[in-house]
């Protein structure tokens, strides 16, 4: 309930939980608003489906996980302690059926003796198939927390980069002080805090310096242009060289986001960092300590001071440290009925206007859906107290997680019974305040100042003086109490339902290493990642194994500190955003002609150009092939990589990167080149033209354009820096079109300002030409096997030239052709693509072994290894069907005729196949063991997947015009 006159804001906010309407106030979290409305039951646990209530006031909350919103916009597993209420907010409880109040799977709680640590490893074995069909579906349905909608959510998130001199993580007393010192000194500061209101524990204090002091500092920070405040921003991970990941909840608190993204994932690069993340209070394990109404003392304090909410009418406090006394006093001062303070320590001087039990432990909690009473074990016996809220403090654990993200291990500090960060664990980051084990306000303030001063020193800046407020000198005294001995189940990991008994049983079964215990019991693997339970659990393990706590060690903290949505870290990649789209200059024209565009790497290329009368791609493809063979076809080949290479040593570089020789290539001529990787296998192929004595243009395949460019730079910069040569990719700068077919020259001569003939421009010639007044390059090369050219113009003329070429081709009985026809034309000619040079192919495999010239080149030596020159290797052949089945398919395997299609009989496989309209039958390219010696042999092709079993004749790969007469005509 809310105490009159306390709490945030005044504006009422209407929201719903499980369909019921409630009123909260602006500034409430969902948790504070529910508590103000006296809602104790908010969730169900993971395994036993135990009723659960709000336990904390922060993102570490293990119980109050709810789904926000409905339909595609539903967001599961949202911490009610973080979610701010707004008008119209809809929240739903999770992991219960049919309702939160009556949950069928609460039956699991009765079966708990059989569902202890690791029970599933010992049963559900067989009969075969039952795991997938019976047990696993049952387990999966029972497990899990909230549910995804299964549909994409409508709103988007964003990603961004930020840079600063000093990143301060956490805006409590230490963080505010650090930011103030650095900000006043002129450093570029980012202050990030996970809360929507900065101030940290200062906001949960009943006395100054508290909220007002924080507000004053924040006002000054806000006025400094060099300080950037990032509230609602959780720094989630520390990475190398001062890089941090951070998640900002941009609009999750707004009824109307008004175009803002939901979240923003920041990559913050900081020269120095101060970790001032505070500390998290830890519970004490005792029987039924998970009942709704059992809460962390710090949470009760925060709800009291910050939200004016008291989560019960009869409140008791249970602790092992002095903090519990402060809370009890503050509750009394606020007029709350404090039934008493139970302190497990003996030597405590009672203070304040409430009853104190010393040397006493809470050993049981009663009530199922709401705490009704507790049982105390006093030095003289047991006692039962009627309470509806129990505030528990087992001490504090520094939030040192980020200091472990680069592999650092924390150190045990005995006087505070807690792990503290190892200095220097993250280069450039220093921990200050409670996260460093400084549990008094005065120490937090002075550590914050010292950390900032150290950072400024490292940055070469002079710190300006900052006066710190007087803080009362309170000692932090604690006598560790991890679990209260006794019967029944005492919870450690509330979310995963791991109890003290489970840890003890794990130790009994020899899961004595902390990592084994964690993995066997699932301790610390729930959404809170053990923030509430890890230290208690390893203390219990240490006790069970007779080790010390530091000797037991910790598990590893890994990013993210708090869970981060996939949508935030993957923002921008939805749909087409995943990778760039590259368009050729003819793209618009091709789309206008009705061509389906298909992906070729990042590019889009036309598949075929359908006529209105054509209803199947094969009709278009066959026509386009025929067009090229009989008249002339136009194809945009601009996607092939083009690398401009210039310099006195350009030819020497080419001799090194190509297997064959280029230094002998004459000016004005083009040569086919085969490029090997250094391990001797084929890397890529293409043509290179010599435009001048020191000027070459290399083409690569579309797929290898980037890798080849990188390779050339590698060879030049790393292997042969003495070569005087420069190179640059000009793929985007030139639009290039194939003009292929017997009428190609006729077409071109209509366009060229000076016509060409076979003498001036024979096969494999190249040179500068002028096309309707535009300087262009012409290459007489052919992938189709026809008399063909490729003409290149600066990209800005590409579209116009394409349209002109197509129009003129159509006038000659030809037209545009796409990738399907291109593929058929090259298969007919036995030309290779990356289907054949797939990375495991040698020059010899594709019949080009003799191209490796007697000179140093990349890959020459490794290509001489016996395994790469073995005559038994699979060699490229052609295939034609000779049996009843006429279909050949890429991906099928080859066997001797009559041999069973088994792995041990495999002789090779088909790489490419098509129907050849030119030859009137299906043709394929394949790799076959000793294939070149087997032309004419009949073999069996089996494609199990497509149900094809065909008898083939092995042929030469070149099925059409093997003499190449058509090229030269």
């Amino acid at each position: 309930m809310r105490i009159a006159g306390r709490g945030p804001g005044v504006r009422p906010v209407s929201f719903s939980f499980d369909g019921r309407r409630y009123e909260g106030r602006e500034g409430d979290t969902l948790a504070s608003a529910l508590l103000a409305n006296d809602v104790a039951l908010v969730g169900r646990s993971f395994k036993y489906h135990r009723p659960r209530g709000v336990m904390t006031a922060g993102p570490e909350e293990p119980n109050a996980l709810v789904t926000i919103g409905r339909g595609a916009a539903a967001t599961p597993n949202t911490r009610a302690t973080v979610q701010e209420v707004f008008d119209g907010l809809e929240a739903f409880s999770q992991n219960r059926w049919p309702s939160l109040d009556w949950d069928l799977l609460a039956l699991n709680d009765l079966a708990a003796p059989f569902l202890g640590a690791g029970f599933y490893y010992k049963t559900f074995m067989g009969p075969r198939g039952w795991w997938e069909r019976v047990y696993e579906p049952l387990i999966r349905r029972a497990a899990g927390l909230g549910a995804l909608s299964g549909r994409p959510a409508p709103e988007r998130s964003e990603k961004a980069f930020a840079f600063c001199d000093l990143l301060v993580i956490g805006a409590g007393p230490a963080g505010l002080t650090a930011a103030l010192v650095a900000g006043r000194s002129g450093a570029d500061v980012i202050l990030a805090d996970e809360d929507f209101r900065m101030g940290g524990r200062l906001l949960a204090k009943g006395a100054e310096p508290g909220p007002e002091w924080a507000a004053g500092i924040l006002a000054e920070l806000e006025s400094l242009p060099n300080v950037r405040l990032m509230p609602r921003t959780t720094v989630t991970g520390a990475y190398d060289q001062g890089t941090f990941g951070a998640l900002e909840r941009v609009s999750l608190h707004l009824a109307d986001p008004n175009g803002l993204p939901r979240e923003c994932f920041w990559r913050i690069v900081a020269k120095r960092a101060v970790l001032a993340a505070g500390a998290l209070e830890r519970p004490v394990a005792f029987r039924n300590n998970d009942r709704p109404g059992v809460m962390m003392a710090s949470a009760v304090r925060a709800y009291l001071h910050r939200w004016g909410v008291v989560p019960g009418k009869r409140v008791a406090v249970f602790g092992n440290n002095d903090g519990a006394h402060v809370l009890a006093s503050e509750l009394v001062a606020a007029g709350v009925n404090v039934v008493g303070l139970i302190d497990s320590r003996h030597d405590v001087v009672p203070s304040g206007d409430f009853r104190v039990w010393t040397g006493t432990q809470v050993c049981n909690a009663h009530g199922r859906k709401r705490l009704e009473a507790i049982t105390l074990r006093t030095p003289v016996g047991t006692e039962r107290l009627a309470v509806d809220c129990l505030a528990v403090s087992g001490g504090w654990n520094p939030s040192l997680h980020l200091t472990c993200h680069l592999g650092g291990r924390p150190e045990w500090q005995r006087d505070i019974a807690a792990f503290v960060p190892t200095p220097g664990a993250v280069p450039g980051l220093r921990a200050a305040g409670a996260c460093n084990g400084a549990f008094t306000l005065g120490a937090c303030l002075s550590e914050g100042r010292a950390a900032a001063e150290e950072a400024l020193g490292a940055l070469g800046m002079t710190p300006k003086a900052v006066d710190l407020p007087e803080a009362p000198e309170a000692q932090y005294n604690i006598t560790p109490l991890w679990s209260v001995p006794g019967k029944g189940r005492a919870w450690l990991d509330f979310q995963n339902d791991v109890t003290v008994k489970d840890v003890a049983q794990a130790a009994q079964e020899n899961f004595r290493s902390v990592e084994h215990m964690k993995r066997y019991t699932t301790q610390g693997m729930a959404p809170d990642q053990g923030k509430n339970s890890n230290v208690n659990a390893l203390a219990v393990l240490a006790d069970a194994t007779g080790q010390t706590i530091p000797g037991t060690g910790t598990t590893t903290f890994r990013p993210p500190y708090s869970p981060v949505s996939i949508a935030a870290m993957g923002a921008g990649a939805e749909g087409k955003g995943f990778a760039p789209e590259r368009f050729t200059t003819s793209h618009r024209a091709a789309v206008g002609m009705g061509a389906p565009m298909i992906e070729a790497g990042l590019w889009y290329r036309p598949s075929y150009f359908p006529l209105r009368s054509e209803t199947h791609w094969r009709q278009s493809c066959d026509r386009e092939v025929q067009m090229v063979r009989e008249a002339v076809g136009i194809c945009d080949v601009s996607t092939l990589g083009k690398i401009d290479i210039q310099g006195p040593d350009a030819a020497a570089l080419l001799d090194l990167v190509y297997a064959n020789r280029f230094s002998t290539l004459k000016e004005g001529r083009v040569r086919y080149g085969l490029m090997l990787r250094e391990d001797g296998f084929v890397m890529d192929d293409g043509t290179t033209a010599r435009l001048g004595p020191e000027h070459f243009v290399m083409t690569t395949t579309t797929a290898a354009a980037g890798p080849v460019m990188r390779h050339l730079e590698f060879v030049h910069q790393v292997l042969r820096p003495e070569l005087d040569v420069s190179m640059i990719s000009v793929t985007e700068q030139w639009a290039q079109f194939a003009v292929a077919g017997p009428k190609s020259r006729e077409l071109l001569n209509g366009l060229l300002d000076a016509p060409v003939d076979n003498d001036s421009f024979p096969f494999m010639a190249c040179g500068d030409v002028s096309v309707m007044g535009v300087a262009a390059r012409l290459f007489r090369i052919s992938f189709s096997g026809e008399h063909a050219y490729e003409i290149a113009v600066p990209a800005r003329f590409g579209e116009a030239l394409f349209r002109e070429l197509v129009a003129r081709a159509e006038g000659l009985g030809g037209g545009a052709y796409g990738m399907e026809a291109l593929n058929v034309l090259r298969i007919e000619k036995g030309h290779i693509t990356h289907a054949e040079i797939h990375g495991r192919t040698t020059a010899g495999d594709i019949g080009m072994g003799r191209m490796i010239a007697a000179k140093d080149c990349i890959g020459r030596v490794a290509a001489s290894r016996p395994g790469l020159t073995d005559p038994d290797r699979e060699q490229m052949v052609g295939l034609r069907p000779v049996g009843d089945v006429k279909q050949l398919t890429a991906g099928a395997h080859l066997f001797d005729a009559g041999a069973a299609p088994l792995r041990e009989n495999a002789q090779g496989y088909v790489t490419s196949a098509c129907f050849s309209p030119t030859l009137g039958e299906t043709r394929a390219l394949a790799f076959l063991k000793r294939g070149r010696a087997r032309h004419g042999e009949h073999i069996r092709m089996v494609d199990h997947l497509r149900g094809i079993d065909a008898l083939c004749e092995v042929t030469d790969p070149v099925a059409f015009d093997p003499e190449g007469g058509r090229l030269r005509g």
């Binding site: 190398d240 890089t243 790393v718 820096p721 030596v861």
Partner: protein, 85 residues
């Protein structure tokens, strides 16, 4: 991870392409242990290493970066021109 490009300054790892240990290319004309080691066998140190990176999304320079493979500390970067010879 951030790498100090001698030409462009310190830049995020995502601008760079890594290709492995910086080793001198053998001059042997025949296949043998030298080539086998160059192509395959690695010191693969758990500690300081020198490896090749290209500032591919930047100036295009190939660099030899001295790093620690355990701590990910980047100890320096120099242009590869001649650095592996």
């Amino acid at each position: 991870m951030r790498i100090p490009c001698p030409i462009c300054g310190t830049r995020d790892r995502r601008e760079f392409t890594y290709v492995g240990a910086a080793l001198p290319r053998p001059s042997d004309e025949e296949w043998g242990a030298g080539w086998d080691d160059y192509l395959h066998n690695r010191e693969n140190p758990a500690g300081e290493t020198r490896d090749l990176w290209q500032h591919e999304a930047g100036c295009g320079a190939w660099l030899v970066v001295t790093r620690n493979t355990v701590s990910h500390a980047v100890l320096g970067a120099e242009l590869a021109r001649g650095a592996t010879a």
